[in-house]
């Protein structure tokens, strides 16, 4: 598996898209730090970019890359290799190259910033962590969708739709539900709903770390109490992990049965 991972990784690292992704985050982080001059504000600004953009880029990149590397996959399938190693290796190679682009793009400006100012690395590390997790989750989802759908256009459409549902539609639905039922105590429901969507979960995890829970009213207090505890933190982490493991499990399972 390591050999496949290595080749996929190098192939993508050399492609200009990973570089553009890296430069994008480098510029936006540097720009925000420069404009606001304040790391907390920069992280809030980045938060909105990260929770929407990391999933979107992972989705687009995952789909395009899967269909583009079909030849490579077919070449590998005829070699003495386990199918699991071929597909998981390619998935990890792609996800790692994207993650590194994001990670360094955000980290480098902060490190430069820390020469003259103090930087709270605990909040920054959560931002980095959440972005990397979202990349892993959405790459896996788009990889899985592409594996199931042989038709390129259909696969691309379905992947984007998945992103749209989780990034935008889900929030709208949640808001609609909460305003419909606002006579009832909804803290628990909204807590559960947050856990069912990795984007929401990431956003909440970071907002609470930034001490902005006061903005969320009573629900914020409940959230703060829950996420502030080590139990809540462990649960959030497990939820993100489950969101990664389940699609990867299905990638493995479906690739074992598919005809090429």
């Amino acid at each position: 598996m390591l050999k496949i991972l290595k080749y996929s990784f190098y192939d993508l690292l050399r492609s200009k898209w990973t570089l553009i992704y890296f430069l994008f985050f480098l510029l936006i982080t540097q720009g925000l730090l420069y404009i606001t001059g304040d790391e907390a504000k920069t992280i809030v600004g980045l938060l909105n970019v990260v929770v929407i953009l990391c999933p979107l880029i992972a989705t687009v990149f995952g789909t395009v890359n899967f269909y583009n590397s079909r030849e490579f996959t077919e070449l590998l399938l005829a070699q003495p290799l386990k199918r699991r190693d071929i597909f998981i290796g390619q998935y990890l190679g792609m996800t790692l190259s994207l993650s590194i682009g994001y990670f360094l793009g955000v980290l480098i400006p902060f490190v430069i910033h820390s020469i003259t100012y103090t930087v709270d690395y605990s909040v920054l590390s959560i931002l980095l962590f959440v972005g990397v997790f979202l990349t892993f989750i959405f790459s896996a989802l788009s990889f899985l969708i592409s594996l199931i759908t042989d038709n390129k256009i259909k696969g691309f459409g379905l992947s984007i739709l998945t992103w749209l549902l989780l990034a935008l539609v889900y929030d709208g639905m949640q808001l609609f539900l909460l305003s419909m039922l606002d006579n009832y105590p909804l803290e628990k429901i909204s807590l559960v709903m947050t856990f069912l969507n990795p984007i929401d979960l990431s956003r909440v995890m970071l907002m609470l770390k930034l001490d902005m829970s006061a903005l969320l009213g009573y629900t914020g207090a409940v959230f703060n109490k829950f996420f502030g505890s080590s139990f809540g933190y462990a649960i959030s982490l497990s939820a993100l992990l489950i969101w990664t493991v389940i699609p990867v499990y299905f990638i493995n399972r479906i690739s074992m049965k598919k005809d090429f």
Binding site: Y7, R14, E71, L75, A78, Q79, P80, L81, D259
Partner: protein, 240 residues
Amino acid sequence: MIQFQNIYKSFGKLEVLKGVSAGVDGGGITAILGPNGSGKTTLIKMLLGMVYPDKGEIMFNGKPIKKEWQYKNDISYLPQIARFPENLTVTELINLIKDIRGGTPNEQRLIDLFDLDSHLGKKIKHLSGGTKQKVNIVLAMMYDNPVIVLDEPSTGLDPIALVRLKDLVLEERAKGKNILITTHIMSLVEDLSDEILFLLEGKVYFRGTIPELKDFAGEDNLEKSIAHLLEHKHAENIKV
């Protein structure tokens, strides 16, 4: 060495293979023939574990290949369509396969044979169809394996390369290897094959040597014999 046992396969509603049984053993070249869509490539891909049969089993060296992958170390496979990662150079691609398979391949001899030296530094996407096919042949044949599977090896090759390919295949046969080949070029079949496996409507319709096929069809030329088989496919006397 290779046994296909009662293989069935359909893609959606299309039944491609309907109970194919055949064995290959003891060295020599077997040509798998049949009209377009008769399941030649499907059968070959099954041997490589790229397509799974709906029913039936494939044995390699007496063991079922289901869920196995190590046996592929003994097979040199030339895919029908030469599709490679476009951004790699020829050298990188050769190194990739060497890295995966390990061992000691003899690629330089083949590079010289097909005059590929000047193309080694080029990216795959800048190669012509014929050159790609030559690279394909180098990748497939650089290892010394007891089984060679060639799916349409002549595609896009110029006459000189074709002659060299023929010599190469005959050389491998002389070493006692089992070689499976599919092609639509009848002259290639006549020059190379020891035996013919003719697939029609999902079944093995004829199996035997070229003289036997000519006898069977009552024609004195191979091309006509094949045409005869296709025209009189209702004939029931299947010889296996």
